[in-house]
C-alpha cells in the first residue's frame, strides 16, 4: 500500500514567521497560512491572492501602523503611554504569574464594569423607580453569551442595596436564580415565596404560585419589595409557556411587590409573552447587551490589567486579540481565554529560552526586556488555536481509505447532486479504489468509516433503517477537500 508524505506543520511551531514575514513558498499546499487568516471561508481565497496579501498579515500591519502613528487618536496614544510607564513583570516568578492568571480568569469579577455603564444605569434606574414608587415591574435583558449580562446584574444588585441604604428607603429582598439549576420549572415560585417575608407561614395545601397570587392581589401592609433576577430565563419555557407567563403576570398584579429581571440570550423571548402583557399595558422593558466591539474589548482588558503593577501585554497584542474576537463573536470569555493561553505560550517560550540562556549570553538587554511581555506572535498563536478551521489539517491526517471516501464523494457531488445514499457512495468508492489498484473494503466497513467521518464533522449521515439507504451529505466545502488532497500525489489523478 503506498504511503504518502503529507505536508504537516503545526501552526504553533513557528508563529513569528507566520505573523511577520510574508511567506513566499509553498503557500498553496501549506494549510497553515490559510488557517490563520481571519476572513477565510475556504482556502481558495488564499490561493487566489498573492501570498503577501494574506488578510491576517493585513490586520497585523494595521495594528503596527496604528500604534506607530501616535497622533492618530487619543485612545491609542494612551495605549502606548501605558506601555511605556509600566515596569516589566517576570513570567517566571510564581506570585506574579498567579496574579496575572487570576486577573484574567473568568470567575474574577473586575472591580468596575466598564463599557456597560449605560445598560447598567438603565437597569438601576428602573429598579430605583420601582422601589421608590413601590410598584412592581419587569425587565428583560438579552444579549449574546459573554457580553457581561450576569456580571452587570450582580453589580446592579449591590448598587441597588447601597442606594437604598443611602436614601433611607427600605431596601428590597434580593433573590437571584439561575434557571438551569431548577429541577422543576415551577420551583421558581416556591423560591420566590421562600424569600418573601410576611407574617403568615406558608400553608402546604396550596401551591406556591397560588399563594403568591393571593398575596399580591390584596393589600398587605409592610410587605417588602423583592427583586428577582432570573438568569437563563429561557429554561423556564415549557410546552404551554405557563411558567414564564405566570412569572411575568405576577408583576402585573394590583399589589405586586415583585421586580423581575429576566436574563437570556434570545432577543425575541419577550415577544412570546408580549401579546398578553401588552393588553394589560405592562410589557417588560427590553434592554439589549450588544456584542462587544473591538474598542470595548481593549478597554475591558486594560481595565482588568490595570490592577497589576506591571505591563503584561504589548498593546498591539491586545489589539490583535480584541479585533479578532470582536470580528468573530464579541464574546468576552473568549477574549480572556485567548489572553490566558497567550500567557501560557509566553511561559512555554521562556522556559525554552531559559534552558539555552547559558549559551546565549550576548543578547541585547532591550531585547531581553521585550521578551518578558506577551507579544503579537503569542496572541496570534493563541488565536489560531481558537479560530483555526481544523478541516484541512484533519483531512490530511485521515487514514487513506477515509480520504478515498472523501475523494469519491467530491467526484460524486461534482455532478450537481447535493446528497446521495451510502450505496451510491460505495459504488464510486469502489471505482476509485479499482482505478488506483487498491483493494476496497466492504460496505460494512465503509459505513463505519462514514460514521467516523460524521463524528469529525466532515460528512453528515442521515437516519435510515437500512445502512445502505442512509443519506450522505458533505459538511465541508468540496474545494477544501480538493485543496487538502492536492498535496498527495496519489489523489491528483482522481480529482482531475
Amino acid at each position: 500500500m503506498p504511503a504518502f508524505a503529507a505536508p504537516r506543520h503545526s501552526p504553533a511551531s513557528d508563529p513569528t514567521s507566520v505573523a511577520v514575514t510574508p511567506r513566499k513558498s509553498r503557500l498553496r499546499s501549506d494549510p497553515d497560512a490559510a488557517i490563520g487568516s481571519p476572513l477565510r471561508k475556504s482556502p481558495r481565497l488564499c490561493k487566489e491572492g498573492s501570498p503577501n496579501s494574506s488578510p491576517k498579515i493585513e490586520v497585523i500591519r494595521k495594528c503596527l501602523k496604528s500604534s506607530l502613528n501616535l497622533s492618530e487618536s487619543p485612545e491609542k496614544k494612551q495605549l502606548t503611554e501605558d506601555f511605556v510607564e509600566g515596569q516589566n513583570w517576570d513570567p517566571r516568578e510564581e506570585t506574579q504569574l498567579r496574579a496575572v492568571n487570576e486577573t484574567l480568569h473568568v470567575s474574577t469579577a473586575p472591580a468596575s464594569v466598564v463599557c456597560r455603564e449605560n445598560e447598567q444605569n438603565r437597569i438601576l434606574d428602573f429598579c430605583k423607580k420601582c422601589v421608590k414608587e413601590e410598584k412592581a415591574g419587569s425587565l428583560y435583558v438579552c444579549g449574546c453569551p459573554g457580553t457581561g449580562k450576569t456580571l452587570s446584574m450582580e453589580k446592579v444588585k449591590v448598587m441597588l442595596v447601597d442606594w437604598a441604604n443611602k436614601e433611607g428607603v427600605q431596601h428590597p429582598d434580593v433573590l437571584s436564580i439561575n434557571c438551569t439549576t431548577l429541577a422543576n420549572m415551577s420551583e421558581i415560585f416556591s423560591k420566590i415565596l421562600g424569600q418573601t417575608h410576611y407574617g403568615k407561614k406558608p400553608s402546604p395545601s396550596t401551591s406556591s404560585l397560588q399563594q403568591l397570587q393571593k398575596l399580591y392581589s390584596q393589600h398587605t401592609p409592610g410587605l417588602k419589595m423583592i427583586l428577582v433576577v432570573a438568569d437563563e430565563l429561557d429554561y423556564l419555557i415549557t410546552k404551554d409557556r405557563a411558567v414564564l407567563h405566570d412569572l411575568f403576570m405576577l408583576t402585573t398584579m394590583p399589589f405586586s411587590r415583585c421586580i423581575l429581571l429576566g436574563v437570556a440570550n434570545a432577543i425575541d423571548l419577550a415577544d412570546w409573552f408580549i401579546p398578553k402583557l401588552q393588553s394589560l399595558n405592562c410589557k417588560p422593558m427590553v434592554i439589549t447587551f450588544c456584542a462587544y466591539s473591538k474598542d470595548q474589548i481593549i478597554n475591558i482588558l486594560q481595565e482588568r490589567l490595570r490592577a497589576l503593577p506591571y505591563t503584561v501585554f504589548q498593546p498591539q497584542a491586545l489589539e490583535l486579540c480584541a479585533r479578532k474576537v470582536a470580528a468573530a463573536s464579541g464574546d468576552m470569555r473568549k477574549a480572556l481565554a485567548v489572553c490566558r493561553s497567550a500567557i501560557e505560550m509566553l511561559i512555554g517560550e521562556s522556559m525554552l529560552s531559559s534552558l539555552d540562556e547559558t549559551e546565549d549570553q550576548q543578547r541585547p538587554a532591550a531585547n531581553d526586556m521585550m521578551s518578558n511581555i506577551v507579544r503579537i506572535n503569542h496572541v496570534a498563536a493563541a488565536l489560531s488555536k481558537v479560530y483555526k478551521s481544523p478541516v484541512v489539517d484533519t483531512i490530511i491526517s485521515l487514514p487513506q481509505h477515509q480520504q478515498i471516501i472523501l475523494c469519491s464523494a467530491v467526484k460524486l457531488f461534482r455532478e450537481g447532486k447535493k446528497s446521495t445514499i451510502l450505496g451510491e457512495l460505495n459504488k464510486y468508492y469502489v471505482d476509485v479504489c479499482k482505478s488506483t489498484m487498491i483493494p476496497p473494503v466492504g460496505i460494512l466497513e465503509l459505513s463505519s468509516m462514514c460514521r467516523v467521518l460524521d463524528d469529525q464533522g466532515i460528512l453528515k449521515l442521515g437516519q435510515s433503517r437500512e445502512d445502505k439507504l442512509r443519506r450522505v451529505t458533505l459538511k465541508v466545502d468540496g474545494a477544501d477537500i480538493v485543496f487538502a488532497l492536492r498535496g498527495v500525489r496519489f489523489f491528483r489523478n482522481c480529482l482531475k
Binding site: 492568571n101 453569551p145 493561553s341
Partner: protein, 827 residues
C-alpha cells in the same frame, strides 16, 4: 435525617455487650511495644505504612480467610487457651488451595485426599525450606482473645497514651457516673452517651419508641449552652473504646491476614477504618454517629497493639443488630485515600447469609435506601436495584461451586465467583505465543503508552497549572478523537502519575471523580454520582444538584480549605439533553469564583462544542485536545512495545497489520485484536504440527500469512459467507437478481421479472423450475436475513426487490460455487 436507621440500644450490661468481648487484663497493653509503634513518629504517620508494606510482596496474594461461621465451628477444637497456635496451617507461598486446615481435609473423599496429601507433602517440604520465613495462621488466640482474618479490632494509636490503659467494659451513666447495674441505660442518638432513665430530667418511665435525643443535645441544637455534669473530684470519667475511637484516639482495623514473624512475634495485616472526621470532607450532616469508612490503606501491625474486638457491619446488619452493644459500627462506603472519593462497598463483599431469597434482599435494599429521603426518582432507584440484583444473582449462582468451602468472605477477583489460577500451578510453561496472546489482550494494561507523549504532557500541564495554584482557578478541557486512539487511557495515565506525585508530597491532594456517560441511567443522574463521589452520600439528583450548586458557587471564604476537584467525564456527548441544562451546569461551575473545579470531558465528536448552544460553548473555553488516528509507524511502535521481550512476531507481519489498520481507521484496538488473532492462528498451527510430526523442534513465528488470515476474518464482511453457504435455489435467485439488475441497469426489480429470469436459467441448464410459491418463500427468506430488501409480500408479483449489498459482492461470492458451475456465465 437518617437517624431512624439507628436502633435504640438498651445498655444492659449483662446481655448488651457482645459475646466476643473478652475481658482483657490491662497489663497486657502496657507491655512491650511493637517495633513499628516504638517510635511515636512512625505511629503517627500511619499512611506511610503502606509503603513499607510493599516489601512484603512475596507473600501469597490469596489466602484463605476464616469466616465467622467457620470460626465458630472450629472454636471448640482449638480452645486449649494459653497456647497461641490453635490451628497449624501448612504454608505454601504460591498455591492457595492446599492452605486448608487438616480438619477440613478429613471430610474430603479418599481419592481427593490422596492427591492432596501427595501435594501437601510437597508443600511441607516447601514450608521446611522456608521455615525461616513467616508462618501464616487462620486464627490466633492472643491475650485470651481469639483473632482471625476478617475480624474487626480496635488498635492502639499512641504507644504512650495512658488513657489507652483504661478500658471500661461497661459504660457509665453520663450523669451519675455509676455503672448501669440493674437499671437500664438509654443511649442518645446524637451524642451516643448513656443515661439512666431516672437520672434524666425529667426522668423517663420507659424507653421511648423511635429516636430519642438527650436534653443536652437538644439544648445544644437550640444554641444554648448546657454542660454535662462534671465527675466528682478525683474520679476520672472512663471513656469507652468507642468514645476513644470516635475522638480519634484509637483506630479500628480489619484483620486481613495473620502471621508469625521469624523472631516469633505475631503480626497482622490491617485494613484501616477511619471515622468521618478524618476524611477530606470532614463529618457531614448525613453521617451517622457510628459510621466508619473502610479505607484502601493497609499496614502491618504487631498483635500487641490490638485492644479487643469491635464489630463493623453493613447497614443491613447494623439495622438488625438492635442490641449490639457499644462496639458496633456501621460501614457503607469505602474511602479512597488518594482520590478522596467514596465508593459504596458492594453488598456481596461480605454477604454472610446466602440462603436469603432475592426478594428478601430487595426489601432490605429498599430499607437501607432510607438515606435518600424519598425524593429519589423511580428510574434511578430501579437502576440501582437492578444492578444490585444482578450482582446478587451472579453471586448466588456462583457461590456454591466456587466458594462453598469457605462460606462467605471473598476478596478481589473472587468477588464475582471467579478465581485467578496462579501462574506456576499451570502444568507447563507458557509458550511465547501464549504470552504474546495475553499481552495483546485489550484488557491488559500496557507498561508504557508510546506515541502519546505530547498529548499527555499537555494534559499534565493543564491539570498541574490548575491544581498547583494556591487559588485553584476552574478550567475545562475537551478531549476528542476517533475511537481507539487512547484518549481515556492517556488521561488516566496522567492521573496515575499525578497520584504518585501527591503521594510523594510535591502536589497538594485533590479529589478525582471519574464518570462514564454510558453508565448513567439518565444524564441528570450525573449530579448524584458526582455528589456521592465527593461526599459518600447518596441522594436523588434534584437534591444533589442543590448541594452541588451550593458547594461550587458558595462565595464565602470558609470554602477556602476545600481541596480542588477534578471531574473526568467520559463520553461527554451522552450528557446532551434536550435543553442541555446538565452540560450547562457542569460547565458553568468552573467559571464561578472559588469553585476549584476542573472538568475534563472526553468524546468522539470533534465539533461537539459547536453543536451545543452558544452559551455552553462560551463557557467551555478554548482548551481542546485532539487525538488523531494513529499512523502506521505509531501502531507499529505500540504493538512492538507490548511485545517487548517476546520474540514471536516477524517484523514484517507487525508492519503489515499496522499498515492495514492505519489505512482504514487508525484504531489501535483493532490493530491489537488483529495481532492477537494472528498469534492465536499461529499458536493453533504450531500445536497442530507438534501433534502430527511429534518433533517440536522448529519455533513457530506469527508471520504474514497469519496476519493475513486474521485480517480476512476481521475485515471480510459476513454477507459473503452467508451467500456462499445458502441453498442452491437461493443462489440461483441471487444470480438471477444480479443478472436482471445488470441487464436493466436499474437499482431494483419486481418479483415477476425475477421469476421469469429464474425460470429461464432453470430451463437452459437442466434444473427444474420450483414454482412461484417456493420462489416467493426463498425471496422472503433472503429478505429476512437482509441480503435483499423487499417490500411486504402482499403485493405478490409486483413486489419490488433490491439487493442490500453491492452487486460486485454478490457476484464475487457466487462466482465459484461448486454445485452450480454454470452460474458463472450469467454473472
Amino acid at each position: 435525617m437518617a437517624e431512624t436507621q439507628q436502633m435504640k440500644k438498651f445498655k444492659t450490661p449483662s446481655k448488651g455487650t457482645p459475646k466476643a468481648k473478652h475481658p482483657i487484663s490491662l497489663d497486657h497493653h502496657i507491655a512491650p511495644q511493637t517495633p513499628q509503634s516504638a517510635t511515636p513518629s512512625a505511629v503517627n504517620l500511619r499512611r506511610s505504612h503502606r509503603l513499607s508494606a510493599a516489601t512484603l510482596e512475596h507473600r501469597p496474594a490469596l489466602f484463605i480467610f476464616n469466616t465467622p461461621q467457620s470460626a465458630a465451628k472450629t472454636r471448640k477444637i482449638c480452645e486449649d487457651p494459653p497456647s497461641i497456635i490453635p490451628t497449624e496451617i501448612s504454608f505454601n507461598p504460591a498455591s492457595p488451595p492446599p492452605v486448608e486446615s487438616r480438619k477440613k481435609r478429613k471430610f474430603q473423599e479418599k481419592s481427593a485426599e490422596k492427591r492432596k496429601d501427595s501435594r501437601s507433602v510437597k508443600c511441607k517440604r516447601a514450608a521446611d525450606r522456608k521455615v525461616k520465613k513467616k508462618v501464616y495462621y487462620k486464627k490466633v488466640v492472643y491475650d485470651g482473645g481469639e483473632f482471625s482474618a476478617g475480624h474487626d479490632v480496635y488498635v492502639k494509636r499512641r504507644s504512650d497514651a495512658s488513657s489507652d490503659n483504661e478500658d471500661p467494659e461497661v459504660e457509665e451513666c453520663r450523669v451519675c457516673f455509676k455503672q448501669a447495674g440493674k437499671r437500664v441505660l438509654i443511649e442518645c442518638d446524637d451524642c451516643l452517651n448513656g443515661f439512666h432513665l431516672k437520672c434524666l430530667k425529667p426522668p423517663l418511665r420507659a424507653v421511648p419508641d423511635g429516636d430519642w435525643v438527650c436534653c443536652y443535645c437538644v439544648a445544644r441544637k437550640n444554641g444554648e449552652v448546657m454542660e454535662f455534669p462534671e465527675p466528682q473530684e478525683g474520679k476520672k470519667r472512663a471513656r469507652t473504646a468507642r468514645e476513644k475511637l470516635l475522638s480519634s484516639d484509637l483506630w479500628a482495623a480489619r484483620i486481613e491476614s495473620l502471621w508469625k514473624e521469624v523472631d516469633g512475634t505475631y503480626w497482622f495485616r490491617a485494613r484501616w477504618y477511619i471515622i468521618p472526621d478524618e476524611t477530606a470532607v470532614g463529618r457531614q450532616p448525613h453521617n451517622l454517629r457510628r459510621e466508619l469508612y473502610r479505607t484502601n490503606d493497609f499496614a502491618d501491625v504487631e498483635m500487641e497493639s490490638i485492644i479487643r474486638h469491635c464489630f463493623v457491619m453493613s447497614p443491613r446488619e447494623f439495622a438488625n443488630a438492635a442490641n449490639g452493644g457499644d462496639d458496633v459500627f456501621l460501614c457503607e462506603y469505602e474511602y479512597e485515600m488518594q482520590w478522596h472519593s467514596f465508593k459504596r462497598i458492594a453488598e456481596i463483599d461480605n454477604n454472610e447469609n446466602d440462603g436469603e431469597s432475592v426478594v428478601d434482599n430487595d426489601a432490605d435494599w429498599n430499607s437501607c435506601d432510607e438515606f435518600d429521603s424519598g425524593s429519589e426518582s423511580d428510574s434511578e432507584e430501579a437502576a440501582y436495584g437492578d444492578e444490585k440484583r444482578n450482582k446478587l444473582a451472579q453471586a448466588s449462582s456462583l457461590r456454591p461451586a466456587a466458594a462453598n468451602s469457605r462460606k462467605g468472605q471473598i476478596f478481589g477477583l473472587q468477588k464475582i465467583g471467579a478465581k485467578k489460577i496462579p501462574e506456576n500451578l499451570r502444568s507447563r510453561k507458557q509458550t511465547d505465543l501464549e504470552k504474546a496472546k495475553s499481552t495483546l489482550m485489550l484488557a491488559t494494561l500496557p507498561k508504557s503508552l508510546p506515541c502519546r507523549d505530547r498529548e499527555m504532557n499537555e494534559i499534565t500541564t493543564f491539570i498541574k497549572g490548575a491544581i498547583c495554584d494556591e487559588q485553584c482557578l476552574g478550567r475545562c478541557l475537551y478531549v476528542h478523537g476517533v475511537p481507539g486512539t487512547g484518549k481515556t487511557m492517556s488521561v488516566l495515565a496522567v492521573m496515575r502519575n499525578l497520584k504518585s506525585e501527591v503521594d510523594a508530597g510535591s502536589i497538594r491532594p485533590y479529589c478525582f471523580v471519574e464518570i462514564n456517560g454510558l453508565k448513567l441511567a439518565s444524564p441528570e443522574n450525573i449530579y448524584s454520582v458526582i455528589y456521592e463521589g465527593l461526599t459518600g452520600h447518596r441522594v436523588g439528583w434534584k437534591k444533589a444538584l442543590n448541594f452541588l450548586n451550593a458547594r461550587f458557587s458558595d462565595e464565602n471564604k470558609c470554602r477556602k480549605d476545600t481541596s480542588p476537584c477534578i471531574l473526568l467525564i467520559d463520553e461527554l456527548d451522552l450528557l446532551v439533553t434536550r435543553n442541555q441544562a446538565v452540560l450547562y451546569n457542569i460547565l458553568d461551575w468552573p467559571t464561578r469564583p472559588n469553585s476549584k473545579l476542573i472538568v475534563i470531558g472526553i468524546a468522539n465528536t470533534m465539533d461537539l462544542p459547536e453543536k451545543l448552544l452558544p452559551r455552553i460553548s462560551s463557557r467551555m473555553g478554548i482548551q481542546r485536545l485532539c487525538f488523531g488516528p494513529y499512523n502506521f509507524q505509531q501502531l507499529q511502535e505500540i504493538i512492538s512495545s507490548r511485545l517487548k521481550g517476546i520474540d514471536t512476531f516477524e517484523k514484517v507481519a507487525i508492519e503489515f497489520a499496522s499498515r492495514k489498520v492505519a489505512a482504514v481507521s487508525g484504531d489501535a484496538r483493532r490493530a491489537l485484536e488483529i495481532c492477537r488473532r494472528a498469534a492465536e492462528v499461529a499458536d493453533y498451527r504450531a500445536k497442530k504440527t507438534a501433534l502430527s510430526s511429534s518433533d517440536a523442534s522448529g519455533k513457530v513465528m506469527a508471520g504474514m500469512a497469519d496476519v493475513e488470515a486474521a485480517i480476512k476474518e476481521m475485515f471480510q464482511a459476513p454477507h459473503i459467507q452467508v451467500i456462499r453457504s445458502c441453498s442452491k435455489l437461493s443462489k440461483i435467485f441471487l444470480a438471477a437478481m444480479v443478472y436482471e439488475l445488470y441487464k436493466t441497469g436499474m437499482g431494483e426489480t419486481t418479483f415477476e421479472k425475477l421469476a421469469m429470469a429464474v425460470s429461464c436459467f432453470c430451463a437452459n441448464n437442466g434444473e427444474t423450475f420450483p414454482g412461484y410459491d417456493t420462489l416467493m418463500k426463498v425471496g422472503c427468506k433472503l429478505g429476512e436475513c437482509r441480503l435483499l430488501l423487499c417490500e411486504p409480500g402482499s403485493r405478490h408479483k409486483l413486489q419490488k426487490l433490491q439487493l442490500n449489498y453491492p452487486n460486485d459482492d454478490v457476484t464475487f461470492a457466487l462466482k465459484d460455487s461448486k454445485d452450480l458451475p454454470w452460474l458463472a456465465k450469467y454473472i
